[in-house]
């Protein structure tokens, strides 16, 4: 407590820090304004006082300068908002991106532009704010009061991020032609054609000044802890809520003005502290300054890249390409948030009976039968055993769904047990993103056909991520916080590459989006057999080694005491997970949330020990993916909803509901 107070009281080296940052900003701004600029310096100087005459002058005045101003404003707003959120929650991993607020704002805008186009055109900040608030409230509700300062909040936010992103993609895909423009908007670009958006944003960022004056007192008191703050006469909840709202407002108007730009809000407050910013006001101000600086730098690179190549590089993509490695570097330097607050769903009181198993198996069989026989046709629903032709279309899909679901569920159980983390899953740790990224990159830059199986590539991608996790994690004993950060970084990197691909705006965009949705449509019989065979093959070592997994799940001490080689065992299990993930991703594309949800439902049904949980989760994973696939086929017949999106939305939504219900029950108890 003493040290906190001391640090809060005296900012370190501010007399050098601020002038240096300002100088760097000035130099960067000068550079930014000169990229691809044909005007001589004297003309530019003169233009500050006289009206522009020819087109080049107009371009400088109405495109280059507003873009510069926009980079500064948006960067400052994001940095400030991130710092405010981090100080509010006392959590260094929090930012609009990691809380799910960005994805929420994006979803709000997508919904508004489709169902309330008039509102979206004139007042896009309101749907964005509503979406962001909804997401953050959900994240807070999931984490609970005690989880706010730690990992639960970030993991909850990350889950929301994935869920809301999947929802937005689903909506865009179902309304494809209407929201074409959204892609470019979603790419987060700072291109300006006049001063309109700068002048729009400027007054909306005014609360920053007010906050700089008013916020430090409650924020400083918050550092004393909730009780200490209340003891000093701070009415805690109203001021926290107000500050939270202010932070969300700032990031929402920034998103409404330029689209999604990640990382700035997460990185800058951490850099600010690294450079010596202490004290609430110092952190806020210096984060805003650094945010402006960082976005200016990344945008300059985006402009530079766009002027030297035919491709247009969106600023948001550039920010993520730089931000993701920066975040990883930062993770390596400092141990990321640790703490193992409980965030698990209560397992059932009784283990699953033999009858329960029988019922579940019968249920799976019945579902397989339904998915094979019941389908809509041109003359309404038909229940019939498929003929040879229809059979040849249906069995690969069914088999792929069953095998893929089981494989993902197995991967989920292993990860959750191994990392002793209830929110670990292949998608949250970025293993799926790694596989997807490898396939997407090969398509974009090597011209590999998107729809052809690329199992080696996908495996390479997820092994790379795994290697990264292991390399980063060794020092920190595989702390869950670090693992989650890698996942966040990779998910954002994937997003950046995707934005870049979509910004090309060719007809391939929809093919890419369709493939990223995860689909069983293109699975051939051979691929389905490969997937099923691979899953079975991998299940053997998983089931044989379940005893070791049990020991590892109890604790390192116990495992070592029983003679297990910790590092070697961990490596073996993580390799199995990477193999399972790569196998599924290369055949089906990314399928989210299944690996997260199936182990939890298994636990809730009464599978407490590792072996029953593995078996039950695999069974449930099969059922879930099978149902998702069948629903995807019949919901909007003759069109189809990709199974990955449907699974993400269904499983993700159900998972969030479970967490919330748990919170409510615990709150009452």
């Amino acid at each position: 407590m003493q040290s906190v107070l001391k640090l809060a009281a005296r900012p370190q080296g501010w007399s050098r820090r601020y002038p240096l940052a300002l100088l760097a900003m000035l130099l960067l701004a000068l550079w930014h304004s000169q990229i691809g600029n044909p005007l001589p310096a004297a003309t530019q100087w003169a233009l500050l006082t006289r009206a522009p005459a020819d087109f080049a002058e107009l371009q400088w005045w109405h495109a280059s300068l507003p873009r510069l101003a926009m980079a500064l404003l948006v960067g400052a707003a994001l940095g400030f908002s991130g710092s405010l959120l981090q100080q509010l929650t006392q959590n260094r991993l929090v930012s609009p991106m990691t809380l799910g607020a960005s994805a929420g704002a994006w979803l709000g805008l997508v919904c508004a532009s489709i169902w309330l186009p008039a509102l979206a055109a004139e007042h896009s900040e309101w749907p964005a704010l509503a979406g962001a608030m909804l997401a953050v409230l959900l994240a807070l509700a999931i984490a609970g009061v005690r989880g706010i300062g730690g990992l639960p909040l970030v993991l909850g936010g990350m889950a929301l991020n994935l869920l809301l992103g999947a929802l937005a993609s689903a909506i865009v895909m179902l309304h494809d032609q209407y929201s074409r423009n959204l892609f470019l908007w979603g790419a987060g670009d700072l291109t300006q054609n006049d001063w309109h958006w700068v002048l729009w944003l400027l007054p909306r960022l005014a609360p920053m000044l007010l906050l700089l004056w008013l916020a430090p007192r409650p924020l400083t008191l918050l550092r004393l802890g909730a009780s200490g703050a209340q003891g000093r006469g701070l009415r805690l909840w109203p001021s926290m809520l107000l500050l939270l709202l202010a932070a969300l407002w700032l990031s929402s108007v920034a998103i409404a003005a330029v689209g999604l730009i990640g990382f700035i809000g997460l990185l800058t407050p951490n850099f600010a502290r690294l450079l010596g910013a202490r004290g609430a006001r110092d952190e806020l101000a210096f984060s805003a300054l650094l945010g402006a600086l960082l976005l200016l730098a990344t945008d300059a690179l985006a402009v530079l890249a766009s002027s030297y190549s035919v491709e247009l590089v969106p600023s948001g993509a550039a920010a993520a390409l730089i931000g993701a490695p920066a975040l990883l570097w930062f993770t390596r330097r400092q141990s990321a948030g640790s703490g193992q607050q409980n965030l698990s769903l209560a397992p059932a009181a009784r283990p699953l009976s033999r009858r329960g198993w029988g019922l579940l198996l019968a249920g799976l069989l019945a579902l397989v039968l339904v998915s094979l026989t019941l389908a809509p046709g041109t003359h309404g629903w038909q229940l019939a055993w498929p003929d040879a032709l229809i059979w040849s279309f249906r069995w690969p899909r069914t088999l792929a769904a069953v095998a893929g679901g089981a494989a993902l569920a197995l991967a989920g159980v292993i990860l959750q047990r191994l990392l002793r983390n209830p929110l670990a899953s292949p998608d949250i740790l970025g293993l799926s993103a790694g596989a997807t990224l490898a396939l997407l990159a090969a398509t974009l830059w090597l011209g590999r056909p998107l729809q052809q199986g690329g199992a080696p590539l996908a495996f390479g991608g997820s092994m790379l991520v795994l290697g990264l996790l292991l390399w980063l994690g060794r020092r920190q004993q595989y702390a869950p916080g670090m693992m989650a950060l890698v996942g966040i970084s990779l998910a954002a990197l994937l997003e950046a590459v995707l934005q870049f691909a979509l910004a090309r705006g060719t007809a391939d965009s929809f093919a890419i989006l369709g493939w990223l949705a995860g689909s069983t449509y293109r699975v051939s019989g051979q691929q389905a057999l490969l997937l099923a065979g691979g899953a079975l093959l991998l299940a053997v070592p998983v089931l044989c080694g379940q005893r070791a997994l049990t020991l590892l799940a109890i604790g390192d001490g116990v495992a070592q005491g029983r003679g297990l080689h910790l590092a070697r065992n961990r490596l073996a299990w993580l390799t199995l997970v990477a193999l399972l993930t790569a196998l599924v991703t290369s055949v089906l594309g990314p399928v989210g949330f299944l690996g997260l949800l199936a182990p939890h439902i298994a636990a809730m049904l009464g599978a407490r020990r590792v072996l029953p949980q593995l078996l039950l989760a695999a069974l449930l994973g099969s059922v879930l993916l099978l149902v998702a696939d069948w629903l995807g086929r019949v919901l909007i017949f003759p069109l189809q909803v990709p199974v990955g999106i449907l699974a993400s939305v269904l499983c993700g939504g159900y998972f969030i509901l479970l967490l919330l219900a748990q919170r409510v029950r615990r709150g009452r108890a």
Partner: protein
């Protein structure tokens, strides 16, 4: 002598009638034989649906049929034509239940060809490439399909009428602008910041060429013949008329800005909107494009064009 000619003619006729029993058609893969012209045709790409309709053949089903009716519009798709699922993921089971005798696909479904071939014979037309003349290929595909359906004569007649249509439009333009028609560039907006410039191998530019109008000389690298550009880069189009394709919802936002007003073609009133027309279609889409662009060009003032583009 005369007798020999008659005998030879008869032999040729006999040969022809023998061949007519088995029709051949050349798609992008090679020659395929059909015992008789197909009756139940499914088109899984919009450009092939267009080509069929222009031959007077109503497809049994078309992929994304409802979107076709909204975006392609011309030629009209009869209400009886069923939707066949998405263009990227057509519904295989639905197709199987329709029992077609021909399925026409584009490259986006090439990897599904083995599955589709189990339902019916598949023809594969790679209509859009950056390394061939898209208009010429559209014409070839039209004639190949005409041969398959035994409508060669109709096709020739319609193609001749197409040329006359172009000549008529050119006449109207020359009446307005004089013998020397202005240079034209065609764009489509993606957002107020990003624009697609149609390259020389795109359908709008092929349509302009039929009208005797010079346009963007460079081909685009993408298969659809468009190059992505920043809107400010349009400032370099100093001597041409610029047409933009509707719809562009944010037109009001962009067109009011001083930067846009300063674009040479805007300041000198050489800028016009073309009503929404599908620009990735078959050979007859050239005419719909030409017609829409002619109407747009005729809204421009002759004097400002003649002085500005010379």
């Amino acid at each position: 002598m005369a007798r020999t000619i008659w005998v030879m003619l008869a032999a040729v006729l006999l040969l022809c009638s023998g061949m007519a029993a088995a029709v051949t058609v050349r798609d992008s893969d090679g020659v395929h034989h059909f015992a008789r012209p197909p009756q139940r045709v499914v088109a899984l790409s919009w450009e092939s649906a267009e080509q069929l309709l222009e031959l007077g053949i109503t497809p049994l089903a078309v992929a994304d049929a409802d979107d076709y009716r909204q975006w392609v519009v011309r030629p009209t798709l009869p209400p009886a034509t069923l939707p066949a699922g998405g263009r990227l993921e057509p519904n295989l089971e639905l197709l199987a239940s329709l029992k077609p005798d021909l399925i026409i696909i584009s490259p986006s479904l090439l990897d599904m060809r083995p599955q589709l071939a189990r339902i019916a014979p598949v023809l594969y037309f790679d209509a859009y490439r950056h390394d061939h003349d898209n208009a010429q290929v559209a014409r070839d595909i039209y004639l190949q399909l005409a041969g398959l359906f035994g409508r060669r004569a109709l096709a020739e007649r319609r193609l001749a009428a197409l040329e006359q249509g172009f000549a008529k439009l050119r006449g109207r333009l020359q009446q307005h602008f004089g013998a020397q028609l202005p240079r034209v560039d065609v764009v489509r907006f993606a957002s107020p910041a990003v624009v697609y410039l149609y390259g020389s191998n795109s359908m709008p530019l092929h349509a302009l060429q039929r009208l005797g109008i010079a346009g963007t000389p460079q081909p685009a690298a993408s298969i659809w013949g468009v190059t992505q550009q920043k809107v400010v880069q349009l400032g370099s189009l100093r001597h041409s008329v610029v047409l933009y394709q509707q719809p562009f919802e944010q037109a009001g936002k962009l067109f009011a800005t001083p930067l846009w007003q300063a674009m040479p073609f805007v300041a000198q009133q050489r800028f016009a909107a073309v009503r929404s027309t599908w620009s990735y279609g078959g050979i007859f889409s050239l005419y719909y494009l030409a017609e829409a662009m002619t109407d747009a060009l005729l809204t421009l003032d002759r004097q400002s064009i003649v002085s500005g583009t010379r």
